[in-house]
Structure formats: C-alpha cells, structure tokens
C-alpha cells in the first residue's frame, strides 16, 4: 500500500470514529438539562466539609446523616412565628405528596436553627413535634452552626429589639442528593405547587 493510501485509510477511520462519537453523545446533547422554577441545580454537586451538629433527639447530625436519602434543609429559629412555620407547612405538603406518588423516593426535611441560645434540642423537639414530627430540628454550638452555615454561604444577623431578638437570614432551601452533596437551591417564597413541581423534576430526573 502506498503511503498516500495509508493516510487516506487513516483519515477515513478517524472521520468514522468522530462521527460515531458524535452520534453516541447526540441524545445527551439534545436532551435539555432540567431547570427549576424556583431555584437552580448546581452544575456539579458540591461536597460539604464535615460538620458536627445535634438533632432534637440528641443524635449527632453530620455529613453522614445527609447520605442515603434526598434531604431538604433550611435555616430558621423557633421564635420566628411567620416565615418558619409557613416553610415547614409547605415542605410537609410537598413531602406528603411525594410520599404518595413516589413512595420509593423518600426524602428528609431539616430545620437548622440559627439561635442555639434559645433553641435547645428540647425546644426544637417541642416546636418540630407540633408542626411536623417527621422533620429533623438541628442545633449545635455557635461555632459549629457558624461553620456549617458558612459552608453553604448562609448569611445571618441577629437583630435586637424590645424584649428579644430576631434574625435576618438567607432564605434559601438547600437540596442535598443521596451522596450528601449540595445539589440545588430553591426559594421558599414560592407556592407549594411550584416547589412540588421542582422536587418532582429533581426526583424524576436524577
């Protein structure tokens, strides 16, 4: 075979393999990545640094606790009478809906307090037990709550007022996948049906 023919065969083979690779990846190129109505899916799930918190049953809550199930987590405090119970109810409704329609895709919901002074495990037990006993309420030392929240870029600020204090804080809802990595963030200021649609988008596609 002449040198020219060898180059020709090589080029044809190269061209065929490029076409093969292109058609192999075509379905995934054509498939649009699902998008959320109320937030966004991270380009790559983000693993968290380890953390050490405690739940309302005095059980350790750390990065291992996030593994195995999908987890929805948000920050708040039990002296917040408006937004926190509203978010708890919204998430409980979404959870009930998913449990009925996708029983294999159970997920956990978690409230992490920003107010460890007042929110002891006992207080969280009372509060969470009242609104949604299947939810986890998590507290810890100042330092551990701060390090966990800064890992998620959560901002919070104590606002003193007559006879008490409130918090301004990041409102986002954080979604963790079964590996315990941060998968998506959502806004709680949306309707139950939008949140529900977004959870179905995640659970049905990943």
């Amino acid at each position: 075979m002449s040198r020219r023919n060898i180059i020709f065969v090589f080029l044809v083979l190269f061209g065929m393999s490029v076409l093969f690779a292109y058609f192999q990846s075509l379905p995934s190129l054509l498939q649009k990545k699902p998008t959320l109505l109320t937030g966004k899916i991270l380009t790559r799930p983000m693993e968290l640094d380890n953390f050490e918190l405690i739940d309302q049953n005095n059980q350790t809550f750390n990065s291992e606790s996030l593994k195995g199930n999908w987890t929805i987590l948000f920050f708040g405090y039990t002296n917040c009478p408006d937004v926190c119970p509203t978010t708890i109810y919204k998430l409980a409704e979404v959870k009930n809906d998913v449990n009925q329609n996708l029983p294999s895709k159970n997920f956990n919901t978690v409230l992490v307090t920003l107010d460890p002074d007042r929110d002891t495990p006992e207080r969280l037990d009372e509060y969470i037990g009242y609104f949604d006993e299947s939810m986890l309420g998590v507290t810890g030392t100042y330092k551990n709550i701060q390090s966990f929240s800064s890992n998620l870029s959560v901002f919070y600020q104590r606002i003193n007022k007559d006879g008490g204090y409130d918090f301004n804080h990041t409102a986002s809802i954080f979604v963790f996948n079964q590996d315990g990595s941060l998968f998506a963030t959502m806004s709680p200021a949306t309707s139950v049906s939008e949140l529900r649609d977004d959870f179905y988008t995640i659970l049905n596609n990943f």
Binding site: N79, C80, P81, D82, V83, P85, T86, Y89, E126, Y127, G129, Y130, F131, F155, I159, K161, G163, G164, D166, N168, H169, T170, A171, S172, S187, P188, A189
Partner: protein, 150 residues
C-alpha cells in the same frame, strides 16, 4: 362628648360580629386567624384581610387584645435572598382596595400571651384605624388555626 385634648374625635363602634367577617362603614375585616404554636410559645403571627370600601385612605394605627401584652404590625420580606422582618408603625390601605395580611408578607406579631393559646380559640382583636382625621375602633375575632382557612 368630644374630648378637647384630641385633634380628632374618637368613635367607638363595638359590634356583635358574625364569625369571619366584620365591617364598620368603610373598613371590612375577613378571614382573621392566628397561627397556633406549641405550648409555651411567646410569639404568634396573625393574618387577616382588610378591605377599604371608601374613597379615602384608611390607616391601621394600632391593635390590641386581652389575650396578648402587645400586638405589632410587621412585614416579612426577602431581598437579595435574605429574609428579614420589619416593624411597621401603620398599615395604609388605599381607597377602594384590599390589603391581605398573609404568611410570608404583612402580618400581625402577637407577643406575650396572657393565657395558653389553643387551636380553635377565638381571640378578640381591637383595631384602631384612622380615616379622614378620625380614629375609629373596630372589633373582630380571629380564630386560632394550624394552617389558616384551607
């Protein structure tokens, strides 16, 4: 009799109310409820709908209740992803319009209950509002519910 020390006269209107709806001339109140909470809660949130049927602005100045030490008007809002709460001195309701106090927005903050607040309790609210330079008083009942009228 008109008290001379006040710039405006005070008219007290106490009504026997049919549950869920109260009105006095230009101001109507519907669906008043207070979110129940676990025992020993110190703070509760209340919600209701004000409808101003008059052609002038109505301003809600103050709320009182025998069941709570203090009632404040608040607004929850989210700005740049940060959830905050702000105390308001008054709630303005423009002419011929409705202001809906609902979870995650405008709400009443009911502090320091004088008694145990339980689900299905009816809590009396006394609402002081200003219209055309006069302060009026309207009474309404709010029901203690877990999750509002659903």
């Amino acid at each position: 009799m008109r008290p001379k020390s006040l710039n405006f006269f005070i008219l007290i209107a106490l009504f026997l109310v049919s549950f869920g709806h109260t009105s006095y001339a230009e101001l109507a109140i519907d669906d008043a409820w207070i979110r129940s909470g676990p025992p020993n809660s110190k703070t509760f949130a209340g919600y209701l709908k004000f409808t101003n049927t008059s052609s002038t602005e109505v301003s809600i100045k103050e709320l009182k209740s025998n069941a709570f030490e203090k009632i404040e008007m608040h607004s929850s809002f989210t700005e740049d992803g940060i959830s905050s709460m702000k105390k308001l001195n008054a709630l303005e309701i423009p002419a011929n319009s409705t202001l809906n106090l609902k979870p995650g927005g405008y709400h009443l903050m009911l502090n320091s209950p004088n008694k145990m607040i339980k689900e299905s309790d009816l809590i009396e609210l006394i609402i002081y509002f200003e219209t055309e330079g006069s302060i009026m008083i309207l009474r309404s009942d709010a029901m203690v519910l877990r999750n509002g009228y659903e």
